[in-house]
Assembly symmetry: C2
Homo-oligomer: 511 residues x 2
């Protein structure tokens, strides 16, 4: 595969597209670096989005605090028309108002636990609530438990093993890994192997069993369902949603996620026939007054009469899950995007095209904020019908891969952008960023743009502890942000956005 | 240093001591391996000492449950005179009966927190309790806060950084490390370098500041003091004692240890001038009826008329700290020692010397159980006066370095035992155990024996996640035990104990 690069280079040259032809205003890049690396506000912004705002679940007061903070800052920095823009109906908001869970028999043991979002509370403190163990692996056997679940705390038996970490939690891309990504061919897409398929099948069976158990528990009037954090350990829990946010749906049963160590201990005790009791006091609040979703948007107006109606967008989702303050997912991205426009405004740039920031909502529930924004402003993804602004988007840049610094960019199959980005990265080689890969990356808001043909991109970022400790966990807090990395990200994003706003042509679209 | 080995070997040969001369009953070792590796009960024992008994703080009901379980099992297996033997006055027992702590303003946030042992509770639920920040680094400045601490939750400002783990939490000894240990010279003791000394000085200053603040907080009627887990992260807390257990001392102020992420977030909010409020409900119970400490002891009687009054001891401390169930510290060691005597009884061995197991108490507060046992039975460490049994101890073997398998043994400077242990390890080379090092290791109960001249030893064990995740943490639970490792440990300990009980001479004492 290493031989591909010269071939691609040759191909680009034959089309007249080469990194050499792409013009970059190095004086401006120097200023952006100076402001971004030496006068950064990114960690102060992140502090406000995390510690000060709290969890930013879609529709929660924490989200609104953060959104209003962002709007305020964008206005203060001199951006135009900063606002919270509604994008349509999302559903109910939700907030945790109290969470206490402990084992009280056979002895007192505090438990690390977080209610899943959009599940109900306990309506007061439950004392001496009994654990009811369901020790089955298939759904048909659930019939045996019919009529037994009322007023019980339901525990599905698991015998998982927690293994010690002989591999470090944190990592950065090696030169070899980056080189491999740079040399990837477009068609590279590996088929899942047998082991992976069988793991996925086991996961589906386990999920089905949980779902069926939960349905039965709710129907029979159980008090709560306990869930186990499958991937976390050492006090780190992965926890997200557990109930419906649709306005018309009733409140779901309390579904509360326990640290793996605590969950497995309860299982062992219950399986050994030792009566296990708990004290639970969970209060959750549903917000039903305003069912709209809101994105935060603001602009730096374009100044070139011929190009100012065209728009370069940068964005990240502002919403988070609930068990921490969503620092790496995605206060990091939001802070970087805010910092990037702060840098550009501080430098008083006069962009040819309009630059527009979008901080999206309800990403965690299916990219709703960005998808609806694209639908409302640019192109309906179903009908593919574009409105007036639809063809005027020059590019969209997204950050949502944690706190690690930028090592490169995913082309999302848009080969024509390779020489452009290659050139744009040249002033940042010393900061570790240069890889341009043909690969796709998924799971976040750039897909809303890419899906309607807009050149949308997400950067390659160092992993740090994203998969192991922070992504969707109770540990996704400010202290897990890496300030020096985020400064680098904001600087590079500001530079890319500036370049996209200044070049003669919009970024090429995929054929 | 590698040249030392041949010299030592020569020296041993000249004394008539060589590994070749040491006799090992390989048939019996084979049986011990069979029982220990293929029919192990060590994890079942560990389950009973951890999940079933709960935290085993000295003097707590959890300790007594575990001690009585051990006594019951020792009796059931046919050991002689299994009992809880009082060793003198320790002080008050303590137990956690409720622990709830959350931030309620500026928004609701559950906190991961554990009261330090022997501190008082809150006498009911405290709602809307205000955080009071003390942002100082030296004790003289504390004067400025005089008269301001009543009814406040005291928070000492810290600006620590949490760094990602680019090094794995878990490790095993490499061959190179073991070889280096084997070749160490007796006098090897490195002096702490400047960086270490300066770190220690900073720690002492920080501890002094905490102590002074706590004294002042208590005097003025503060509600509680918050502490930060300096070494833990990701939900792992290192937490131990915070109050006096002396019968005559009053209850200390509630001192509650928070996860580093939570503590630092409170500090940032308070320092930014944002009012932080908390809800706390902590109930602790002091046990004052029985102030005695108890060790669990039992014997397999010796059968050789000439040697049966001599005793080979094996032991481990049974007590733990409180925030989890003390699995690696030291249910692991206790389970291994119980399993070792179970193996030996199952094989119906007829040892020449008496074998005695001791499961110690109050190790965490200063090796009190083992020190007093040694004083009561063998030799007074102050007067050095021995009683009748004092010179009859052939050896003492201890396990208290976590869940990792045995890789060798520390000679504690007793060079004469090198050829003996070298021979004893021969049947276990395939299990990764062979290193004999002249080094000392400290911090646990073998020191009580070594201190009065008894040949006392602790094994070299693989680290696994002892320092990073389990030792004195809220994560020291059953799931962090490694079953295969513990089987190996029990098998090797049983074999060593058997060898020591059968050889013609007691193990040589240090000159």
């Amino acid at each position: 595969m290493k031989k591909l690069l010269p071939v691609i280079a040759l191909f680009c040259i034959s089309l007249g597209l080469s990194a050499q032809d792409e013009k970059v205003d190095l004086e401006m890049v120097k200023k952006i670096r100076q402001e971004g690396l030496n006068n950064s506000k990114v960690m102060d912004i992140a502090f406000n989005l995390t510690d000060v705002s709290g969890p930013r679940l879609q529709g929660s007061p924490g989200f609104m605090r953060a959104a209003n903070y962002a709007k305020g800052k964008l206005t203060e920095w001199g951006l135009t028309d900063a606002k919270l823009e509604p994008w349509g109906e999302f559903g109910k908001g939700w907030e945790l108002e109290k969470s206490y869970l402990a084992m009280t028999a056979p002895y007192y043991r505090p438990l690390i636990a977080y209610p899943k979002t959009w599940t109900a509370g306990t309506k007061g403190k439950l004392k001496e609530a009994e654990i009811f163990l369901i020790d089955e692996t298939d759904t048909t056997a659930l019939e045996n438990y019919k009529g037994k679940l009322k007023d019980k705390i339901i525990l599905l038996y698991k015998s998982d093993k927690i293994t010690p970490s002989f591999k470090a939690d944190a990592s950065r891309y090696t030169d070899e890994e980056l080189e491999k990504m740079a040399n990837d061919a477009p068609q590279t897409r590996s088929q899942p192997d047998t082991a992976f398929r069988s793991m996925m099948a086991a996961m589906r069976r386990s999920t089905l069993l949980s779902t069926k158990t939960k349905e039965m528990a709710k129907k029979e009037g159980a008090l709560a369902l306990l869930s186990m954090s499958n991937r976390g350990k050492d006090g780190t829990l992965f926890v997200s949603g557990g109930g419906s946010y649709k306005a018309s749906d009733p409140e779901n049963l309390l579904d509360i996620m326990l640290a793996a160590e605590d969950y497995l201990s309860l299982c062992r005790l219950a399986k050994a026939g030792i009566p296990v009791k708990m004290e639970i006091d969970v209060k959750t609040k549903f917000y039903t007054q305003d069912l709209q979703g809101y994105n935060v948007v603001a602009e730096i107006k374009g100044t070139d009469p011929a190009l100012k109606d065209e728009v370069v967008m940068l964005g990240a989702h502002l919403d988070s899950w609930q068990s921490s303050t969503g620092a790496t997912d995605n206060a990091a991205g939001s802070s970087v995007m805010l910092e990037a426009v702060r840098i550009l405004k501080t430098l008083n740039i006069q962009p040819r095209r309009t630059i527009r920031i979008g901080l999206w909502s309800a990403e965690e529930q299916g990219l709703h904020g960005s998808r609806n924004y694209v639908k409302n402003h640019f192109t309906d993804p179903t009908t593919k019908k574009s409105n007036a602004e639809g063809d005027k988007v020059a590019a969209y840049f997204n950050i949502d891969n944690g706190t690690g610094k930028v090592r490169g960019i995913y082309l999302q199959g848009n080969e024509a952008c390779r020489p452009i980005f290659t050139k744009w990265f040249e002033p940042f080689h010393d900061l570790g960023a240069k890889t341009v890969t043909i690969r796709n990356t998924g799971g976040t808001d750039h897909l809303a743009f890419v899906g309607v043909g807009i050149p949308g991109f997400q950067f390659i970022q160092d992993e740090i502890e994203y998969s192991t400790r922070t992504h969707h966990t109770n540990m996704d807090s400010y202290d897990h942000l890496q300030g020096d990395d985020l400064k680098q990200v904001a600087t590079i994003v500001a530079s890319f956005v500036y370049n996209a706003a200044m070049r003669d042509e919009k970024l090429p679209r995929k054929k």
